[in-house]
């Protein structure tokens, strides 16, 4: 059902939107747990001393600051950018914007939900996702400055 190769470009968009959604959700859950370390970890439910929170965070920062996590974040950056722009396309389609005027549906015609403008936004989402990869590679690993 999810495998899109036998179908149109719209099915690729459908599948990619779901895969990126699931992966970004997993990242989001981990991110909420991981950012809990800013205040001294999961057991802290009071305002800790500044030095305690700082020392706890520095340890975690040391652990996270390595190329494996950086590459993981670049992939997440690609997925977030694609999911966001493609999601905007779906939102526009949901409210009937960008779909053109209603008309008779001809046999074998391409899906009305994937108008030329919708198709263009899909490719823009891919382009912005590629830009996100380059930008995050530099922001995380300094590849342009090197």
């Amino acid at each position: 059902m999810l495998f899109p190769s036998r179908y149109s470009l719209e099915r690729w968009s459908y599948t990619l939107q779901r895969i990126t959604g699931v992966v970004v959700t997993l990242y989001f859950v981990l991110h909420v747990i991981e950012t809990g370390n800013f205040v001294g970890g999961p057991s802290v439910w009071y305002v800790p001393p500044y030095d305690y929170a700082r020392a706890y965070y520095e340890e975690i920062r040391e652990f996270l600051h390595n190329p494996v996590f950086d590459v993981g974040l670049v992939i997440i950056g690609w997925m977030v950018a694609f999911h966001a722009v493609n999601g905007l396309r779906l939102t526009l389609a949901h409210f009937g914007v960008t779909l053109g005027r209603p008309s008779r549906v001809e046999p074998e015609a391409p899906p009305r939900s994937f108008s030329p403008l919708q198709r263009a936004i899909f490719w823009i989402s891919i382009a912005i996702a590629v830009f996100a990869v380059v930008y995050s590679l530099n922001a995380l690993m300094g590849v342009l400055a090197a």
Binding site: V32, T35, G87
Partner: protein, 123 residues
């Protein structure tokens, strides 16, 4: 709540994530000079205009983070529900998974709110 309203909320929270997520990304990534990395700037604990504590101590930015947390939690949990519903269209499975996702969503909002409130008050 009807399926129509759940999906309307899905799109509304999606737009909300675009706005609050843009602020979050701007703070973490786009304030960083091109010749530096986030590890040298925004991922510092303190003593930088957009270091972690500086962001959490700013009431406006902290509120934006909280909105992002709530919007993303709803959007993610409902998104997973829709995907599972399409893959396994079984009424009792869908009902069971709904409560699991509500529990996970509540945990995320409570834990994330704790982090934001405590970090706001660290001095």
């Amino acid at each position: 709540m009807s399926e129509r309203r759940l999906m309307l909320l899905h799109y509304v929270t999606g737009i909300g994530i675009l706005i609050t997520g843009a602020v979050h990304l701007w703070v973490v990534f786009f304030t960083v000079p091109l010749d530096q990395t986030i590890w040298e700037t925004t991922m510092l604990f303190d003593n930088h205009p957009f270091a972690i504590l500086s962001v959490y101590r700013n009431a406006l930015l902290a509120s934006t983070l909280w909105l992002l947390l709530v919007f993303t939690t709803y959007h993610a949990m409902n998104g997973i529900r829709v995907i599972l519903m399409e893959l396994i269209p079984n009424r009792s499975f869908v009902s069971a998974i709904k409560w699991v996702l509500i529990a996970l969503g509540l945990f995320l909002v409570v834990y994330g709110t704790r982090t934001i409130l405590i970090a706001y008050n660290i001095r």
